[in-house]
Amino acid sequence: MSCPDWRRLAAWRDDDRPAPAGWSGALEHLARCRDCRLQVAAWDPTLLLAATPPAEVSDAEVADVVTAVRALRRAEALGRPPARRTARAALIAAAVVAGLLAAPAALRWSERGEAPAGRPPAVATVEPAASPPVEELQPAGARVYQFGGDELPVVLIVDETLDF
């Protein structure tokens, strides 16, 4: 593109008209052409500020936005953002684990009977209740994770159908 007459080309800015065709090309030229920049800087330097090059956007970035928008739409369609859904599942799992840990202790307490007054119950003499096998705890469609050793196993059950 040859150097334009900037005063004439930019006359549209003084009224309500849209820019003429090729305006964005002229701005790109202005961003690169030193002679035009000197000419415009002496006349209206605010026009130089409009002539900054546009951000380069790669095809990969466009694809990323498409994917992100799809994910946002799906999350909204499910009624909640993905992060909240995960947090809710974790809360449910934590509640299940707490219940599992508390259940054997509660059983032990009920089997122990009344302790003599002024003496703590002899915990060591009480036979601990057998924990149910993990397979029996697993509802259909849930995932079971077991951590820790035989002494104190921690069982985590994630049942997404319980999501409320």
Binding site: W12, R13, D15, D16, R17, P18, A19, W23, S24, L27, A31, R32, R34, R37, L38, Q39, V40, A41, A42, D44, P45, T46, L47, L48, L49, A50, A51, T52, P53, P54, A55, V57, E61, V62, A63, V65, V66, A68, V69, R70, L72, R73, E76
Partner: protein, 211 residues
Amino acid sequence: MPHLAYSRRTAASWDEATDRELLLAVRRGDEAAFDVLVRRKTRPLLQLACRMLGDREEARDVVQVTFLRAWNHRASFNPRWSPNTWLYRIATNLAIDQLRARRSRERAADQVRGHLVRLADAAGRRRLGRLTAGEVQRILEELAGELSERQRAVFVLREVEGLASPEVARILGCKSSTVRNHLFAARQVLRRELVRRYPEYAGRLGGEEGG
């Protein structure tokens, strides 16, 4: 039924459609058409948001939320409007909100920032016309902090995007006369700041402003 016929189209078959056809299909809830619209409009919207915000990550967030809002409010698309106007309106309003939020966050750090800017000015002052495009971009981002959110939006939409004042008014939801006022004020603020930083233009620009 036309609706069913449209909804059976795949994303590839929408590639040749005009923006208006796409948006009309989106209004009927066509997800394939929406995917094509997102792919087609991401680049220009991201460039617009980058110019307004000067921050790539924030611009990307704005564009993603723009599309999400466009989908959620697709029934409100007015076919008499240009499709670009509708999308630009959503994006510009989101960018203005973002700028307002940022301004309130940055208010506390203004004194430090001002000091740093003055130091940078003193160290790097060169003739404006000789600056590279990247340097001008940096100056624009600094100066844009002196503009109100609406002045900034008007400057980008009118001077850079080259939109007519009535279209800018539709995007911002105001009158054309308001657009003219914002643009006048934006140019004045930018000239004043440029004169402060590049005093070699003071006489000429001062004369223009006064005359």
